[in-house]
């Protein structure tokens, strides 16, 4: 920034006196007829004098005024400034007359403003100016852009200026310039550059081969970018599947208890987020923390409900998985209806914190929404925490002992009933955490969970029941496959294909996926 300003000063100092005179000479034309205005605007734009920028901006916004003697004034809020010097003047506004423009002047203004803004100290303005010049593309802008490119230091703006420069060169009459433009455009990965090249192909048959080569290069780069984009979308979908399935991987995979109310636990987690957010709304210092607070809150809420459900109901049905399935389905139905009666059937609004809004650029110019990226990281962190909890804590050890050989674990003094309840609560709590994340990207309604339950089961079964790492691989694998199929088959059919493919896969690897052996298969 500093450097840019310094450069601007140097530029101004180096500007020949003749140019400054030209600026003053061109100025009165703005107050004349439409024809004179167009000419003056064009001159001011080409001169590239930064003093012209506020004047032309004022003209385009209808803030340029004229005194009877032809002196031009700019209305800046309540003050009136002399357009040529920028000094405040003491004139009543009633004595002035607004300078009007027509569409032809407006068109000229757009071009000139672009030319002037390209030397603006504000990088966002320079970016917009580069884009405006790119759209207008005229060979006259080549020297201007060349100079702008030389002094540009912000990489993003540089890229855009280079693109505008290449596009402007393409319409130049000079064949060497034209070829340079084509080459430069071919080095981008911009669909706009591609369409410009294709447009120019008919008008420039002599450089058709070069244009074709450039288009092919762009196509290749676009294909790589598309592939990377698909990969990210797939990983993003995979992270959602992983979050939804992780709780199930504990209750079903580790404990062997089928919980059809799992989706409802996810939904309760999302509603907990809504409630925490509503609670924090009136407490300013708490507001930015509502989402981080919602994570443990959702865990506790759903874990408590899960523990109550395990102790009160599921415990009586151990060893009868089909009955457990029906019972938990019934419980899920009641939870869903209760939420519908309490909170209403319509979607609840969840406000994302600022750091989760907006779009980021990954390498290869892949746009990613911040919330998707956060959820991807979040799912991996949660996965790591669960793995650590199972592998490295006392609770995890007891949990594994009870699931592997219950009577021996009991003989070692482990309270198996307590471990059962805690394990189920743990799995349910994870579902609640998933709900916090999903509330950021999905509609928070009582039906939130139903959409995830079948997918979650497929992920757990596909990855191998009882294997957390399998769940991770299955979730990301299914996510990426789903997104790869989508361009070919459409979103719905892709989902159907994945369902069928998982069913077919289970045919090929039934033993690998169902590690029950011997008499355990009869349990």
């Amino acid at each position: 920034m500093k450097r840019t300003i310094l450069l601007l000063f140097l530029l101004l100092a180096a500007m020949p006196a003749r140019a400054q005179d030209a600026f003053l000479a061109a100025l009165p034309g703005l107050g004349g007829g439409f024809g004179a205005q167009v000419e003056a605007v064009g001159q001011l734009g080409t001169l590239g004098d930064p003093r012209a920028l506020p004047i032309l901006t004022a003209l385009s916004e209808g803030r340029l005024l004229r005194l009877a003697d032809g002196t031009l004034l700019i209305r800046d809020g309540t003050r009136l400034l002399n357009a040529a010097t920028g000094a405040p003047v003491d004139v009543a506004e009633a004595d002035t007359q607004r300078v009007t423009i027509n569409n032809r002047v407006r068109g000229a203004l757009r071009g000139a403003l672009g030319q002037l803004q390209i030397i603006s100290p504000n990088s966002a303005e320079r970016l917009a100016a580069a884009d405006a010049i790119f759209r207008a593309r005229s060979a006259e802008n080549v020297p201007l852009l060349d100079a702008a490119l030389a002094r540009e230091s912000v990489p993003e703006v540089r890229d855009r200026i280079a693109l505008a420069l290449a596009a402007s060169r393409l319409v130049a009459t000079n064949p060497a310039d034209k070829l340079a433009g084509i080459t430069a455009l071919g080095e981008t990965a911009s669909p706009q550059a591609r369409s410009i090249l294709l447009e120019a192909r008919a008008a420039n048959p002599e450089v058709a081969t070069q244009i074709d080569a450039a288009v092919a290069a762009i196509d290749q780069r676009l294909a790589i970018r598309r592939a990377a984009e698909t990969l990210f979308q797939g990983l993003s979908l995979g992270s959602v599947l992983l979050l939804a399935a992780l709780g199930l991987a504990v209750t079903f995979g580790v404990m062997g208890v089928i919980n059809m109310a799992h989706g409802e636990f996810v939904m309760l987690g999302a509603y907990t987020t809504v409630m925490v957010q509503d609670f924090a709304r009136d407490i300013p210092w708490l507001q930015p923390w509502s989402l981080p607070i919602a994570v443990p809150a959702a865990f506790l809420v759903t874990a408590a409900i899960g523990a109550a459900m395990e102790r009160g109901l599921i415990r009586h049905l151990y060893g009868r998985p089909l009955e457990t399935l029906l019972l938990t389905f019934g419980v899920g139905m009641m939870i869903q209806q209760a939420v519908r009666l309490i909170f209403g059937a319509q979607n609840r609004e969840v406000i994302s914190p600022p750091w989760m809004q907006g779009t980021l650029m990954l390498p290869f110019d892949i746009p990613v929404t911040a919330n998707r990226l956060w959820i991807l990281c979040f799912s991996l962190v949660i996965f790591g925490l669960i793995l650590a909890a199972i592998r490295m804590t006392r609770f995890g050890l007891e949990m594994r002992a009870v699931t592997q050989r219950r009577p021996i674990a009991a003989a070692m003094g482990i309270r198996t009933g307590r471990v059962d309840a805690l394990t189920f609560a743990f799995g349910s709590g994870i579902a609640g955490i998933a709900g916090v994340a999903l509330s950021q990207i999905d509609n928070v309604s009582p039906n939130l969970g139903t959409g995830y339950i079948i997918d979650s089961f497929l992920v757990v079964v596909f990855g191998g029941v009882g294997s957390l790492a399998g769940t991770l691989i299955a979730a990301f694998g299914l996510g990426v496959i789903n997104k790869m199929l989508e361009p070919w088959a459409g979103a719905v059919l892709a989902k159907v294909f994945v369902l069928v493919a998982v069913m077919a896969f289970i045919q090929r690897r039934p033993r690998g996926l169902f590690p029950q052996k011997g008499r355990a298969a009869e349990a």
Partner: protein, 364 residues
């Protein structure tokens, strides 16, 4: 599957009693269309609503019977029987659509309205033949049967049982629902089929047509009941029950459990398809919502409430739960889902043998 003792042969007195209950239910139902013809002020008059709603319940009872055959006797808890029901319904719906002919809104001689609307030039190949009643009826049985055959063969061969099988069947009906929601499948997208005009030359909006469909459903119910009764009584049926209770032991004894289960599953799917085919002309619409996993699970609760492993139980369950639903959804619509969920919990915890088990327990 746990080795339950659901099929302890009831004392013959009770078994006869249950069959008598079934007979009474059928006879009472058979009088409905006749009583409907009595003058409105008569004490015995049965309202149009009751006739049409009990016609639907009979179809549900057939679906419950079919599910009971798979779950109660073969131990296959299908959470996707609604898919077979819906496929049968769609096959019938296609026949009914073809019979509309040029009477549609767009008046096209061959294409149904939705195809004209979607810009079809000709009938897709899989619609051919559905203008013949016999072909359509064949498809009503064959399409669900084939799906059950393929799915069952794949699953039973790989020894996928219990909960896994349930989830796979649920995924199947979910996938079908998503697929049928698509417009380009050629099945009317999310609107499905409706606006039917006639069946077998009978205009559908007449009382005679309603009564005929009612009796056709009732006859089908009795037929399916007798078929299941016969089948479960044969040696094959006893092996099936043994598979339900201890599949590996039966396999070790030298039985081919896969084909035993497969036959029951396919027969069950065909019955469900028949139920769907009878259901569609009575309600006048079929859409992809019929595939929703919730519908299939609701059918499971009918069987569970009535008492799985007893054929009469499935029928009683279908009538009682649906009766409750019809009454409650108008009396207290918010409560219905609580009651349904509560039924799941209560039946699995306190009434594993269902209403019929309650009767049996009292008799002992």
């Amino acid at each position: 599957m746990s080795a339950t003792t659901l099929d302890t042969p009831a004392p013959s007195r009770i078994r006869l009693g249950l069959r008598a209950v079934m007979g009474v239910v059928v006879v009472v139902l058979a009088t409905f269309p006749l009583l409907n013809m009595l003058p409105q002020d008569s004490v015995f008059h049965v309202s149009d609503f009751l006739v049409s709603v009990s016609g639907k319940w009979i179809c549900y009872a057939i679906l419950a019977l079919s599910l009971d055959l798979a779950w109660g006797y073969a131990g296959i808890l299908s959470l996707g029987h609604g898919a077979f029901f819906a496929l049968g319904g769609y096959a019938m719906g296609m026949h009914l659509m073809r019979l509309i002919g040029p009477r549609g809104v767009y008046g096209h001689p061959v294409l149904p309205d939705f195809m004209v609307f979607l810009g079809y030039q000709q009938l897709p190949w899989y619609w051919l033949g559905f203008d013949h009643f016999a072909f359509a009826m064949l498809m009503v049985l064959l399409v669900p049967g084939m799906l059950a055959l393929v799915l069952g063969w794949l699953c039973f061969r790989s020894r996928i049982t219990g909960v896994y099988l349930s989830i796979i069947t649920q995924a199947m009906t979910y996938a079908l629902m998503l697929a049928f929601f698509r417009n380009d499948m050629g099945f009317g997208g999310n609107n499905g089929f409706t606006d039917f005009k006639e069946l077998l030359g009978m205009p559908l909006n007449t009382g005679a047509a309603r009564a005929s469909l009612f009796y056709a459903s009732l006859v089908s119910l009795v037929g399916c009941y007798l078929f299941c009764l016969w089948m479960t009584g044969t040696k094959y049926g006893r092996v099936l029950t043994a598979i339900r209770d201890a599949e590996n032991r039966v396999r070790f004894l030298g039985y081919d459990t896969t084909s035993h289960k497969l036959f029951a599953f396919v027969a069950s799917a065909m019955m469900a398809g028949l139920a769907g085919a009878l259901y569609v002309p009575q309600v006048g619409i079929i859409n992809p919502g019929e595939f929703s996993p919730g519908n299939s699970i609701e059918a499971v609760i009918w069987v569970a409430v009535g008492g799985r492993g007893t054929l009469v139980g499935a029928v009683i369950g279908a009538f009682s739960v649906n009766g409750l639903k019809t009454w409650l959804t108008s009396a207290a619509p918010d409560l219905w889902l609580f009651v349904l969920g509560g039924l799941f919990v209560a039946v699995t915890l306190f009434l594993p043998k269902g209403l019929v088990g309650l009767l049996k327990g009292r008799a002992k």
